[in-house]
Symmetry: C2
Subunit: 237 residues, 2 copies
């Protein structure tokens, strides 16, 4: 928690913030070892970042006097990431990684090698997803929540949503063995597809390429999905 992320409701007036949830209180005490008088970095969801002085830390409340939350959050990556739904534990970590790195648009997609049971996982509960996004923001000192959408059918996604998503975006499909090495330092708006463990099936790759995406690879090493996400984002942007 490199940033204490406040909801607008936690800001009582322009100068006072109160938080009461056990997770952040525990973190303040056990990790920050915060004491009254400490100045910490705070931000407000969807808004700015600044500092606040801790004026009270009790068993069920922390209060801060805010010193202006007017620093903008770090810039977002110009990418919409379409990720084949990973297994639940990997989904949690992947959401945190993507958020920490600055992805703001995430689509979780069904593909042939996604186990159907993953769509029943409690990790897909909007509240659970929100939790992981918040952890990613707190880590990276960001305030802008990513938007996560679910696409439970590959064909409907490709037929109905893909053409619009590719307007003004460079489409990239990351898959071992495709022709082009992952480019570096591109600044253009991008639609990035990352497959499931075991990869896209050939039909899926063909459909994405036929729709106008370019195929890219990360070399001969096969990486776990969560590792590939970070490696691709770090290299592309």
């Amino acid at each position: 928690m490199n940033l204490i992320l406040l909801t607008p409701e936690e800001i009582r007036d322009e100068r006072l913030a109160c938080l009461r949830d056990p997770r952040r209180l525990r973190h303040l005490k056990e990790v920050h070892r915060a004491k009254v008088g400490d100045r910490l970095t705070l931000g407000v969801v969807g808004g700015g970042i600044g500092r606040g002085e801790l004026t009270l830390l009790s068993g069920d409340e922390a209060r801060f006097t805010l010193e202006g939350l007017d620093t903008p959050p770090p810039p977002a990556l110009p990418v919409h990431l379409v990720l084949a739904l990973p297994r639940p534990r990997m989904l949690a970590r992947s959401l945190e990684h993507m958020t920490a790195m600055g992805v703001k648009q995430i689509t979780l997609l069904h593909t042939r090698r996604v186990e159907k049971s993953y769509w029943q996982s409690p990790e897909l509960d909007p509240a659970k997803i929100h939790e992981h996004l918040v952890l990613g923001l707190e880590q990276a000192r960001d305030t802008q929540l990513p938007e996560v959408t679910l696409a439970k059918g590959f064909r409907p996604f490709v037929e109905e949503r893909l053409p619009t998503l590719l307007e003004g975006r460079r489409g990239l499909v990351a898959h071992p063995g495709l022709a082009q090495a992952c480019p570096t330092g591109i600044g253009t708006p991008t639609l990035l597809f990352i497959g499931p463990e075991g990869g896209f099936i050939p039909f899926e790759v063909e459909r994405l390429l036929a729709a106008g995406c370019e195929g890219i690879h990360l070399g001969p090493r096969i990486l776990r999905v969560e590792t590939a996400i970070v490696a691709l984002l770090a290299r592309l942007f």
Copy 2:
């Protein structure tokens, strides 16, 4: 397990491999859903990669007829990574990430913000470290085990070992706020320092820069150690 990694002892003669450990047997059955007659990718620790036909799969043994293990493993990254010892769970994942990405020399270093108790963790047991290295190799279809060394004192490391390590290597210290953005696509032998959660202390950064290292950063976002490792390696090489 994208590669079944055999020890030399598991290769009975030029053509026959037998494995008996429960982890790989379970993986073969439950994840690969392997059946007699299937051809799978195998490699031997420190050696080549090839295919083998499964000829027996029982409760306590799997046998393969080898078809030549003569493909070389993927190239290594030209980096010696010096990582401030992370907390145990993050160490485990970090070892897997580094290994999967092709790092072959790893030093785990004590720095001021490394909790002393981490050095007592069972995760530092050589057998435990070996386990995570093997998982990383199996993931990335590699056979070359990284070498992991421990450096329990910062000063002795800097004074006694650093000058030799910097011979013929470009030293890089990754730390938020340092002057230079992380370069991309360098091919030169590199000694890369990555700090602990909370970062190096200023004294440590100064010592490393004074010894001839360059300071680099990954932008305004503060990443978890395991995320930073992957992002740095993906961008540098």
